[in-house]
Symmetry: C2
Subunit: 381 residues, 2 copies
Amino acid sequence: MKFAHLADLHIGKRLYEYSLVENQKDILNKIVELVKVNCVDGVVISGDIYDKSVPPVDAVKIMDDFLSALSSLEIFIIIIGGNHDSVARLSFASKILEKNNVYISPVFSGNVEKIEMTDNFGRINFYLLPYIRPVNVRRAYEDFEGETFTEALKFVMDKINPDTSIRNVLVSHQFVTGAQKSDSEEIYVGGSENVAYTLFDDFDYVALGHLHMPQAVGRETVRYAGTPLKYSFSEISHKKSMTIVDIREKGKVEIEVIPLIPAQDLVELKGSLKELINESVVASVECNSFVKITLTDEVLKNDALDVLKQFYPYIVSIGYDNSMTRQNNVVQSRAVSEEQRPEEIVEELFVQQNNRQMNDVERGLTEKLVKKVWEREYETD
Amino acid sequence: MKFAHLADLHIGKRLYEYSLVENQKDILNKIVELVKVNCVDGVVISGDIYDKSVPPVDAVKIMDDFLSALSSLEIFIIIIGGNHDSVARLSFASKILEKNNVYISPVFSGNVEKIEMTDNFGRINFYLLPYIRPVNVRRAYEDFEGETFTEALKFVMDKINPDTSIRNVLVSHQFVTGAQKSDSEEIYVGGSENVAYTLFDDFDYVALGHLHMPQAVGRETVRYAGTPLKYSFSEISHKKSMTIVDIREKGKVEIEVIPLIPAQDLVELKGSLKELINESVVASVECNSFVKITLTDEVLKNDALDVLKQFYPYIVSIGYDNSMTRQNNVVQSRAVSEEQRPEEIVEELFVQQNNRQMNDVERGLTEKLVKKVWEREYETD
């Protein structure tokens, strides 16, 4: 059983002011070609199909074309919802699409959908688990009392009980401990989203989505496919790829990582205006690259952007790093730490605004509110 | 070829403050049963599947269940988009769904999709034309210079050129001249939306959507299916139905209209508070009806709503008709006439606010703005 593992397409995502529609079309077309030449039996997409739960029409069209192109290859397609997707929207018509070997996981209701297949090496089962948070498990199971992602996922995994005499693949969209984050994932505020990869020990391959860098976690066969494109400058050094998984007899899994070459790459440049418009520097950058520029000139130049644009037409941001900006290092806002609970973040803001700690009533209200917000976010699915 | 003709499901539509989710589920379940017992070959749905171009998740789930239930009957399903639908969203995965005899018209690009079928009587073609406005035709055809709906539709119909030696069905969502409106359709402001039914002369049956009352227009075989539920009090006297169309040999079309019975009906009551809570009046109204009440008491009663709610739990609106309200007949706003162009409506408001006519500059700006608004509305699809 040979399949392509993809994830985190984030169709509809923008890079600063730039639409990535054409870049996304391009990379998905390239993926279709790679799927074709690699003679896979199927494609597995591990969540975050769209960037928004209500994707723009453009994005829907792109995904429609991609899905149609893949389906015309007469291969199976497995899709789960990620934290960016509205699973109910994504899984529209899924019961009918199944007849054409297009499997889209339904809204999580406690059960993990199992798809049974067979090849020359015997039986192989795919388990489809869309992104879940502890609240989803609480809704589905009255007897679940856990609070953490690990507890929630463990509870659900214990229900699966796969037949380990045959081959099993899990498709999941979670943050697995030890994996390396970028800045562009939206990680659950309040921390402890991560789950242990040892939860997946019964599976011959775990096709993960959520983190943007392609990587194995814990063992070679628990893998993030990564995004097909670089979606932020924190991903600038990533080598984006499509993962080809070949599961032969039980215990034998071969992995091949095929590079994905974008239409436009991301480039960071730092130097004085004079340096950056130097012919050799300009020549070293693909002219259609998205460029993030940091100028080191001590004297700000009003027309710097106009000058630079003549050499770099896709500038996404421009900033200064000089003695002035280094001195004037006022922090206007702060990054939200994953280690803090939402209530703590609210309280910190409260203290800044009111110059006193919260009292118990205020703290109680905050906790209620935070709880309500999370529950409601669940409801919208 | 025997098929059920439906239209204007408007899934997600609300009645005043009331959700109609349960009513819609109920009527669609009843429709599935009727489809089953009537042994049809297919179901045709002539647009306005959803009430909003971005339907709520509830609505998507309801439509998903309906479509799955119909598809499990192994019949064909034809769906076009109406003016309330985002055709691009609606037609997601349509290329794959076609393999399961689910045909959803794509975004109008100038061509009218043709589906060819055969039965014991020979060949029969279905033409799928989603809702179009003149601007859609202008975008698709540079040589189209018409302004009206009739010109636009005629232009498109002329391209179809159906083989009239076989049977032809057109599925369309437009306002056809002579048909009877309700208050609940959203008719193109600016008037002249209506098209002549004679445009459809080449078709053995025309399955129309847009108007909420089931009715034939011009001839028995050009028909609006109507909404499955009453969606406003202007529809209170409608007899909602599903139309069963049996097209036998060329020239022989049999129509059967099967009543659809809602879970909750609409009722209008008028009288004094005392009269309306009289036992015989209360007994004459199904207790779960949505009720619109007009009180005729000369003295307003503060607790009237509370009293009435004990007898009529689903009151959607309450008003007074007495000597005071009849005298105090100030018109706060006015209905928008279909005969007026949008520019005229804006100018009328301008005059009211500024006590003078628009000058040419202002009139020019208004025209530009109105044009831009309509073009943009097209773009969102």
